[in-house]
Point group: C2
Chain length 268, copies 2
């Protein structure tokens, strides 16, 4: 065990999707306090340019640093895919993204090396998963597909039934044909569609959720002493959003698995 550090872990996302990552962190590190920022006024990042996403990411990180976080988790695939170098060069605390852990987990579990990645247009266009997977597993064949309709489906709560099934079938047709054995869910909203995706791809395809893989990475930092752990005892949780927090109770129940009664609105 390294030294104790009671400061919170900071997590940001373009909106509420990152709550699936927060959920994995909360269930794994019960003693840690956490501060979450959802940039709900500027969501989605997935259709915006790298330049704009980097600018917003730096602003989000500065806010969390002002909240005295000891570690920053970028719980947004789009931001992780384009803004990590800028964040790491500006911040003095460790920065964990969701891409590298997800790619590492996929490279490990794939038997055949035929690996699929689904994500937002921004994430797929960045090539970040393709690069990370090629680095982790040279020789793997990577099949990518942008799935812009998955986010609104998840936010609408349309996660089973005919519509999501047909949308999934359309997006995944090429990968099924290519015979992938592993699919990376390269967007924090997609775990909500896990049931439909699993049904569509069948039991021979392993789904990799980067939320769990990211929690592994954080565990590595905490247990290795790179970042101090909190004591025991239940860690606190604060949520901040940049637009009105009206839908937070409903959305936190769906994405975080805890119904949070409110969030504080901040103007960044």
């Amino acid at each position: 065990m390294g030294q104790l550090d009671p400061r919170p872990i900071g997590v940001f996302d373009s909106g509420v999707g990152g709550l699936t990552v927060l959920r994995a962190l909360r269930s794994r590190f019960r003693g840690e306090s956490m501060v979450y920022l959802g940039d709900t006024a500027r969501v989605p990042y997935g259709t915006k340019s790298a330049e704009v996403v980097t600018r917003y990411s730096l602003r989000n990180a500065e806010f969390l640093v002002s909240r005295d976080v000891k570690l920053l988790v970028v719980a947004c695939n789009t931001a992780s895919s384009v803004a990590l170098p800028a964040l790491r060069s500006r911040l003095s605390i460790p920065v964990v993204g969701v891409i590298e852990p997800g790619a590492r987990a996929a490279a490990r579990v794939s038997r055949t090396g035929e690996i699929g990645v689904v994500g937002t247009p921004g994430t797929i266009a960045s090539g970040a998963y393709q690069r990370a997977l090629a680095g982790e597993r040279p020789g793997a064949r990577i099949h990518v597909q942008a799935c812009p309709l998955f986010v609104p489906l998840a936010e609408e709560g349309w996660v089973q039934g005919d519509v999501p099934r047909q949308v999934a079938r359309t997006y995944l047709a090429g990968m099924r044909k290519a015979g992938i054995d592993t699919l990376v869910l390269g967007c924090t909203h997609y775990p909500l569609l896990r049931g439909v995706l699993a049904e569509e791809l069948g039991p021979a395809v392993t789904l990799v959720d980067s939320a769990e893989a990211t929690a592994d990475e954080v565990e590595h930092l905490l247990s290795g002493g790179a970042v101090g752990s909190s004591g025991t005892g239940p860690g606190g949780l604060r949520l901040y959003v940049t637009d009105l927090p009206d839908r937070i109770p409903e959305l936190s129940a769906r994405f975080l698995g805890e119904r949070v009664s409110g969030a504080e609105q901040v103007d960044l």
Copy 2:
């Protein structure tokens, strides 16, 4: 005819959907120059709060005023539904939204007074169509439905086939049951889904596209002399966007019906 005024007409929208309104204006007023601003870095407005949408709308309007426009068309239902009072009190030029013209047209064409309105969550929650229709046609029964999946379907180009048909069927079930005879397309993206919507509702239901109704309103201002007309001769067109203009050629072909080779990026 009033006096001549060669200054351009300014049009803004949260993104590219307003190009359907620009298209109606361009085909109606061939002599007028037009300047279009799509706030593509902050799209969509439909899921954001009234406060945030008003702030962005004022910034967009100031930019267009700096481009010396003689008339402002707010080609975004969400912005029209919440920001018109603020815009009208700050600007000295006439401001036309898309809600009032659409409501007026629907009130006129409905035989039975059973009127449906589809729009983004922001537009529907604002109650703007409900108020405008009640004012135009007291006693009408208004049936509203937020349809957040229609925008990503239109932007993806998924405007026919099983997926949009099933999405439309789900959203429109209540209105069909209520027996509407008129449906207002209360979002500038929705005219792209007109085929599917018409098929779903059948020939007895009239679809009202606010783009055409808004062009009527502009015609009224120009012919009544409230705003001076340009001379004849083809009017110029300038497009500005707040994010990278990469997809403008493709999206302008789809939404505007003219393939515009590029747009200038501005940071607002």
